[in-house]
Point group: C2
Chain length 226, copies 2
């Protein structure tokens, strides 16, 4: 279990989030990468009461941030890539293999995730608003197109390239944002791919650790989260 | 002028796009990076008639793709990073400097661009639709929040970190998507930052070459673009 409050690596995470966000907050990606790499880490927990100075660490006021005494960075994509450079389990070392994997991190975060997060806006954050109802069919169609593209690329391969990489790690965490729908199930190879990623022991440990934090910090009363 | 049809580096680009997209299509990022690095490249032009096999190169059916005989990749963020590794003008070589720059590429493409592209959906692609009218105020507010975050981070610095990097290159191309609005002008330091990036000779050459291609391939009749 690499969560160790004496570890050199520190990440930031939220102390607690509402149920719809539990299991998908972006520190999960970094926890997963650290588990794959076998690197211990400690967690600095933040609430909704985080100080304005946090913007000097993370200008978008999000989690996770990462530091290991050598590098201090934010953006889960960059952090996962940095960890990947320390573990061949995550990232090949030859230029072609390395950049094929890196390309899929941008593919996951820029070509796929925005479409999926727009459906979350419609279904969760703005559910009930008139524009959200009118927009939903188009937003869903755009998600399906993205899923179709990834599904066709994947074919009967186990991973996006010839082995598991940080590109898969990020793509799988992006696909998880659709768990409130059955859209991934419409593409059986993509559904299998998602399950294949989630079955990795490193993912399971990362998820359990994120969820354990929320369970330990569950607010007693509605609205008490801080 | 590094456009050279005998160069080892090949990128893909569109032969022609409608005016609203001219000067912001993503091959601009790669052209700019290649100009900063002093690397010659050739362009393979694609139209709306591109073959289904193109999906084997670029699963999302977009431009640019990149190959140099050693590496074949897509996703402008990854391509710019790959070029950055070949030029200290674009990317520091120490771990902290390198990953601070890389973090900003993900920041530009994942924390800022999706908000801006959503405003483009509302203003350009779905202009006139009822949901777009209802959504516009919220979409604009979200863009303003992102711009405020970047503006506050930037303060009176010239660049996002202590020197120009691929992070700035991508952030500046992302901010350019707002040129149909005056939103960037509401943040004077961000407006100066955008102008500072666009004033770089390498950017100017890249932009001129992209626009020259469209001018040379302007369809004679509306709807004739292919």
């Amino acid at each position: 279990m690499p969560v160790d409050q004496n570890a050199a690596i520190e990440i930031t995470a939220f102390r607690w989030v509402p149920e719809f966000a539990q299991g998908v907050v972006r520190d999960l990606r970094v926890r997963w990468a650290l588990e794959e790499a076998g690197l211990s880490y400690r967690v600095r927990l933040l609430g909704q009461d985080r100080p304005p100075e946090y913007l000097l660490e993370q200008p978008f006021d999000q989690v996770p941030c990462f530091s290991d005494g050598k590098v201090r960075i934010f953006e889960s994509g960059a952090i996962v890539q940095y960890i990947g450079e320390q573990s061949e389990t995550l990232l090949p070392t030859d230029d072609q293999g390395r950049f094929r994997a890196i390309q899929w991190t941008y593919g996951a975060l820029n070509s796929v995730e925005p479409a999926i997060l727009n459906l979350l806006l419609v279904d969760i954050f703005y559910a009930g608003e008139e524009w959200a109802k009118l927009r939903r069919p188009g937003a869903e169609d755009f998600v399906k197109l993205k899923l179709k593209r990834v599904s066709e690329w994947l074919g009967d391969s186990a991973w996006l390239e010839d082995r598991f990489t940080i590109g898969d790690l990020l793509m799988i965490t992006v696909l998880r944002f659709l768990r409130h729908t059955k859209l991934v199930d419409e593409f059986p190879n993509l559904s299998d791919y998602l399950k294949r990623g989630e079955a990795r022991p490193a993912f399971q440990r990362a998820l359990a650790d994120q969820l354990a934090t929320y369970a330990a910090n569950q607010p007693q009363l509605e609205g008490e989260a801080a």
